[in-house]
Symmetry: C2
C-alpha cells in the first residue's frame, strides 16, 4: 500500500520534472509511512522521497518508533552536528538531485530559506494527493461515522434544560475517549442565539426552553475522521422554527438528490459547484438567507481536505471521494440550524455514511 502511494508521489514528480519530494505535513507522512507519532504543531521530522529511496529525517527521540512502525524507510537522524540541511545535502549529492518539490502550504519561511541553496525548490500543493480513498480508508472512515452516530444517540440522553454547552461538550468527549477514539475537532455545542455563530466555542450558557441546540462534532479512529451536525430543539418549536428546520433538511436532500441523479445520468465527475447551488436554491425559493460557508468539504485524515464542496471551486465528486453536505440557516443574534452528513462515492454512486435521524428531535424538561 505504501509502495503504491510512494509511486503516486513519484509520478507527480515525474510529470512535473522534479527529482525528489520533501514531505512535511504529518498527514502526508502518515499516509506514506504509517508513522503517526509526530505532533502536528511542532516540526519533528521530514520524509524525503527520491527516485531511489525513502528517507525519514528525524530526531533520535523517534528512532525506535520509526524503525518499528515504518521499516520500509531509511532512517536518518539529526544531531547537533547534522541538522536537516546536512542530511538532505548528503542525499542530494549522492543521488544527483537537481530539483525538489515541497508542500508550499506547510513549509515555513525559515525552512525554505534554509533549504533554498540545496537544489531548485518547487512549490506544490498536493491538495488532490489523498482525494481518492481506497477500500481500507473507506472502511476506517465508516467506523468513525458509526461512532459519530452512536455519540449522537448518547448525547440526546444527556441534554436537558439547565445543562451548559461546556458540560455537553465534555460529556461528548468523555464518551469518545471511553470508546478509545478521539474527537476529530473540538465539538461545537451552541444553544439559542449562540447557534447563529457558525464556529461557536462552548460556553457556560445553560439550555433554556425555546432554544435550538446545534451540535457539530467529529470522531477520529486510527487517524481517520468523521464530521456530523444535528440541530435539536428544547421545548416546542414555533411554526416558523419548524419551517426553518424543514428548509435546511430539504436543502440538504436537494443536494443529495442532485448528486444521485447526476451519477445515474452517467456523470462520473460531479462538479461540487452545482451541488452547492442545488442546496442554495431551496433557501432562495423560501426567501431565506443563503449560508455564509461552503456546502461541505472533503474529509479523511484531515477534517478538511480535497475535494472542496463549494460554489467557488471547480472540484468534483468522483469514485473514492468522501465528503460532507452541510447546509445551514443562520439569523445573527437569533438562532441557527445546520444539518451535516458524510458521503462516499463508491461503484454504485453516492452513499450516505452517517445515519442519525434528521427528524427534528425535541428535548423536553
Amino acid at each position: 500500500m505504501f509502495e503504491e502511494r510512494l509511486n503516486h508521489l513519484r509520478l507527480i514528480c515525474e510529470k512535473n520534472t522534479v527529482d525528489a519530494f520533501l514531505v512535511s505535513t504529518t498527514y502526508n507522512i502518515f499516509y506514506l509511512t504509517g508513522f503517526a507519532d509526530y505532533i502536528a504543531d511542532e516540526r519533528e521530522g521530514f520524509l524525503f522521497v527520491t527516485k531511489k529511496g525513502v528517507y525519514m529525517l528525524t530526531s533520535p527521540l523517534y528512532s525506535d518508533a520509526v524503525k518499528r512502525i515504518a521499516p520500509h524507510v531509511t532512517l536518518l537522524l539529526t544531531s547537533s552536528e547534522a541538522w536537516y540541511t546536512d542530511l538532505l545535502k548528503n542525499i542530494i549529492e549522492k543521488e544527483n538531485i537537481k530539483s525538489i518539490g515541497f508542500e508550499d502550504q506547510d513549509l515555513r519561511y525559515v525552512e525554505y530559506e534554509e533549504f533554498y541553496n540545496l537544489a531548485e525548490l518547487v512549490p506544490f500543493t498536493l491538495r488532490d494527493f489523498r482525494k481518492h480513498k481506497n477500500k481500507e480508508e473507506i472502511e476506517a472512515i465508516e467506523k468513525a461515522c458509526t461512532l459519530a452516530d452512536e455519540l449522537f444517540t448518547y448525547t440526546q440522553t444527556i441534554i436537558k434544560p439547565g445543562i451548559s454547552e461546556k458540560e455537553v461538550a465534555l460529556e461528548m468527549e468523555l464518551f469518545v475517549r471511553h470508546h478509545h477514539a478521539h474527537l476529530s475537532f473540538p465539538s461545537i455545542v451552541a444553544f439559542g442565539t449562540n447557534s447563529a455563530a457558525i464556529h461557536h466555542v462552548p460556553t457556560d450558557k445553560k439550555l433554556m426552553i425555546g432554544e435550538f441546540i446545534l451540535l457539530d462534532f467529529g470522531t477520529k479512529i486510527h487517524n481517520y475522521c468523521a464530521d456530523i451536525s444535528r440541530t435539536l430543539f428544547c421545548g416546542t418549536p414555533t411554526d416558523e422554527q419548524k419551517k426553518m428546520y424543514e428548509t435546511v433538511k430539504k436543502a440538504q436532500q436537494a443536494a443529495i438528490d442532485f448528486t444521485k441523479e447526476k451519477w445515474k445520468s452517467g456523470e462520473k465527475a460531479i462538479g461540487t459547484h452545482d451541488v452547492d447551488n442545488a442546496a442554495r436554491m431551496i433557501f432562495e425559493k423560501n426567501t431565506f438567507p443563503s449560508f455564509p460557508h461552503s456546502l461541505g468539504h472533503g474529509i479523511g485524515l484531515e477534517v478538511h481536505e480535497a475535494p472542496a464542496v463549494s460554489r467557488n471551486t471547480k472540484d468534483t465528486l468522483d469514485a473514492g471521494t468522501i465528503y460532507t453536505i452541510e447546509p445551514g440557516l443562520y439569523f445573527s443574534g437569533q438562532e441557527g440550524i445546520r444539518i451535516e452528513d458524510m458521503f462516499v462515492i463508491d461503484e454504485h454512486g453516492p452513499r450516505q455514511l452517517t445515519h442519525s435521524t434528521k427528524e427534528l428531535i425535541v428535548i423536553n424538561a
Copy 2:
C-alpha cells in the same frame, strides 16, 4: 495588559526599524488579544499590529467571538472578494507602511509569496517575546502545576500489574477533563523497555513485575501549561535500579542547587548551559551515559518556549522565566528513568512549582 504587550511588540518593531508586525501564531495572537478560538493547525486569522492600530484579519465565522473577546482590536473580515492580501493592502496604503515584521518560523511559504509584494517583509523569531511571565501568568501556571500534582497522586492509585500503557494514559486524560482542564500534550506512559524511548507513545503493553513506569505528562488550564515527569517501579527494584534512580534524582538536585547558589551569589541571568552541565556531571561521576536531550525547556502558552535549557544555548534564567529541569537515564532496549519538575524565578530566586514526591514509588501487586 494587552496594551502593554502590544507596546512591547511595537518597541521590538521600532528597534528593528520595522513599521508593522504580522502576528500569525495562535499563541501570540492569544497573548496580544485574549482570543484563543483559532485552531493551531489551520490558518484562521492574522493579527496585524501597526503604529496606530491593531487589526484582526479573519473569517466572518469568527466575527461575533472576536468582538466579544477582543473588543480592543479592529475587526477586518475576509470574503470571496477580499482575501488577507487585500485587507493588508488597504491598511498598508492608509498608514504608509514600508516594512512588516513576520514570524519566520510560522509563516508558510505560500503566504510569504502572497504578501511578498505588499511591503518589505522582515523575518523575526519573536522567541523571547513571551519569555518573562507576569504575576497573572505565573498564577495561571501554578494552577496547572497543582492539577498536574493531583493527577500524579490519582495516577498512582490506578497503576497495577496487568494494566496497559494506553489504559493509564486514558484514565489520566479523563481525570484532567473531569477537572475542566486539558492535557498540554499526549501523555507518555512507558513500561519496562518502552521507558528507554524518550517520546514513547502508549501501547497495549501491560505492566509486569520488575518494570520501571515512566510518566511524562502535562495539564493545561486557561491556555497555560504544566509539564512533569515521574518514574515509578513495579515490584522490588534491584540495587542497580535503585542506584540509577537515585542518580537521576541527584542530577536534578544538582541542577536545582546550582541555580539557587548562582542566584544567591548575585547572578541575575543564569546561563542554562551551565545548569545543564551541573546535572550532566553527576552522570559522568557515576559512569552513566549522559541524556540525549536538553536538561529542560521554558514553558508557558507553549509546552516548549523560551528560554532553552540546554548545553547548546546562550539562553539564561532570570526573573519571570518559567522552566523545567528533567534529566534522564536511558539504556536503549532496557529501561529509562526521568524526573521532571517546573520552576519559576521570582523576586526571591528559583522556586519549585510542582511538588510531587521524588522518592522512588514502588507499586505492588
